[in-house]
């Protein structure tokens, strides 16, 4: 893909990220962090392509390792965030 096009996407999403997160209340900072961390597991998508490419043994093994690590991130990150958010309750009544 065109480099300038990728950079364009980068710029827009950085601005979007700043706008999205700016107003998060302090009480949600930890879930936000672990939820964002789960999203950074998106690298699994890149790892999948490399692990299955059949290119070279080395790329496959490295890719498989990356898939495993990123899966820890994705599964663990989303689950622990959900567990935490389950605790947050409003005052009843």
């Amino acid at each position: 893909m065109d480099v300038s096009y990728l950079l364009f996407i980068l710029m827009l999403s950085v601005f979007l990220g700043f706008e999205l997160i700016n107003k998060v209340p302090a009480t949600l900072h930890t879930p936000l962090m672990s939820g964002a961390n789960a999203i950074s597991g998106i690298t699994v998508v890149g790892a999948i392509a490399l692990a299955g490419s059949g290119n070279s043994d080395m790329a496959q093994w490295l890719g498989a390792g990356a898939v495993a690590l990123a899966s820890v991130n994705v599964v663990g990150g989303y689950m622990v965030t959900d567990r935490m958010l389950g605790f947050f309750k409003k005052k009843e009544g």
Partner: protein, 452 residues
């Protein structure tokens, strides 16, 4: 052609769901659903990636997913809420390592200098995130000392490492067949991650965790450039931006610049001795009970000590008894109380304290004058009036919770040792301060017994 379009559309949908999910994470009412939506986005992205016809072998992928997913699931289920800071640190590190590995593996498909540069970047950021997070994990779980490690010539050594990374990176990009230069980048990045985190300790950890969180996103973003994938760039930069914002909030809450946190240990400036007037006035649990029984408005200010003593549940018990006694109870949460952003909120949420009773510093401070008793549990620097009154104090200018404005202040503390920053706290010597010495959990447990 048709399949390729479907895959790309899948990525677009995934990115949209991430954005939507993050937006919903911004409010306590919708946060849980937001997290679920973002998880669905991840599922869509993974399915789209698996459809790719370039994939000829699924064994490696499935093997990796099963192993990683199982580890992640077990960790997420079993971790205690008090261990969340080190858990988040570990997850950050794992994410960084994954992106670094993607960078290395992408060498097999790389062509053109730009791709090589982005591969180097993902290895560099991923490597720093990985070892940096491991050190942070060690400090937070106290498997290694939690204090700052500094030595003479540290900046010089770090400078050399940076030059080494730059030099080997440039040489590798100019001649990608020179694989030794790549190994040099890998090794130096891993070393650099250790070097940048060891001089940071204790109360500065919230900044480090936020920063590493940001790096784990940026690493994914760099990996996205390396493998030419939009959704990695979008998701990675969203995470990068969110981590940077949290980092800024943490720095602001300590009135320090990021470079000050990263490059200078607190200890070096805190040698000035401040004259503190007045005397320490201890109080017994019984006397504290009589004061609390008559109070109509109580503010609880927790700090890292509450997490250490695991006192959050017994604090909640005391809160219920006070409320049954017709007293209004609120919590004042300083942004950097604890070891990660929002640390206290998670602990108290687990103990069933409603989040609308957890007030941010700017909300509790104006109310402090109408508070009968402010109970400080294991917090020190974040309630230190020296930050407002003593210009020579190293924490002067840091916004603090003004507990001294309350009619009476109880400080629950193990002993008279000063906080992480090693700074005298004039609060302990104020006329309206009473010290309740001992383990926070036991002291509050004693109060609970007096009430019932």
């Amino acid at each position: 052609m048709g399949l390729d379009l479907i895959i790309q559309l899948g990525y677009v949908v995934a990115a949209g769901l991430f954005i939507f999910g993050l937006k919903m994470l911004g409010s306590p009412d919708t946060a849980r659903r937001g997290n679920a939506i973002s998880a669905i986005g991840m599922l869509v992205a993974i399915v789209a990636a698996l459809l790719d016809q370039g994939i000829v072998q699924y064994e490696y992928i499935l093997g990796g997913m099963v192993v990683g997913g199982a580890v992640g699931a077990v960790a997420a289920r079993t971790v205690a809420m008090t261990s969340m800071p080190e858990m988040v640190a570990l997850f950050n590190g794992v994410g960084g390592a994954a992106s670094g590995l993607v960078g290395v593996a992408a060498l097999s498909i790389a062509d053109g200098s730009f791709t090589y540069i982005t591969i180097i970047l993902s290895i560099l950021i991923g490597g720093v995130t990985f070892t940096g997070s491991l050190v942070a994990y060690g400090k937070l779980s106290e498997t290694i000392g939690s204090g700052a490690v500094t030595f003479g010539g540290q900046k010089f050594v770090n400078g050399l490492i940076v030059i080494g990374i730059l030099a080997s990176a440039v040489m590798f990009v100019m001649d990608p067949t020179n694989i030794n230069m790549l190994y040099a980048v890998v090794g130096l990045s891993l070393l650099f991650g250790i070097m940048v985190v060891i001089p940071i300790g204790g109360a500065d950890m919230p900044v480090v965790i936020s920063l590493l969180n940001s790096y784990s996103g940026l690493a994914a973003c760099a990996a996205g450039f390396a493998v030419d994938n939009n959704v990695l760039i979008v998701a990675g930069s969203l995470v990068g931006a969110s981590g940077i914002i949290l980092t800024q909030i943490m720095c602001k809450a300590m009135n320090r610049s990021l470079s000050n946190v990263l490059f200078s240990g607190f200890a070096s400036v805190s040698t000035t001795v401040t004259e503190v007037e007045g005397e320490i006035k201890p109080i017994s649990v019984e006397d504290a009970y009589y004061v609390l029984e008559a109070a109509t408005n109580v503010a609880i200010i927790p700090g890292y000590g509450m997490a250490v003593a695991q006192a959050q549940h017994v604090v909640k018990e005391l809160m219920e008894l006070l409320e049954a006694n017709g007293c209004e109870v609120n919590y004042g949460i300083h942004p950097v109380a604890g070891r990660m952003p929002g640390h206290m909120n998670v602990l108290l949420a687990e103990a069933d304290v409603p989040y609308d009773q957890l007030l941010e510093m700017d909300d509790i401070n104006p109310r402090m004058e109408s508070v009968d008793v402010a109970i400080v549990i294991g917090a020190n620097d974040v309630v230190n009036p020296a930050a407002r009154e003593v210009e020579s104090s190293p924490i002067y200018g840091m916004p603090v919770i003004n507990v001294a404005d309350a009619r009476t202040v109880f400080v629950l503390k193990r002993s008279m040792a000063s906080g992480f920053a090693g700074i005298e706290n004039p609060l302990f010597y104020k006329d309206n301060t009473r010290m309740l010495f001992g383990d926070a959990k036991e002291s509050i447990g004693g109060l609970v017994r007096e009430f019932s």
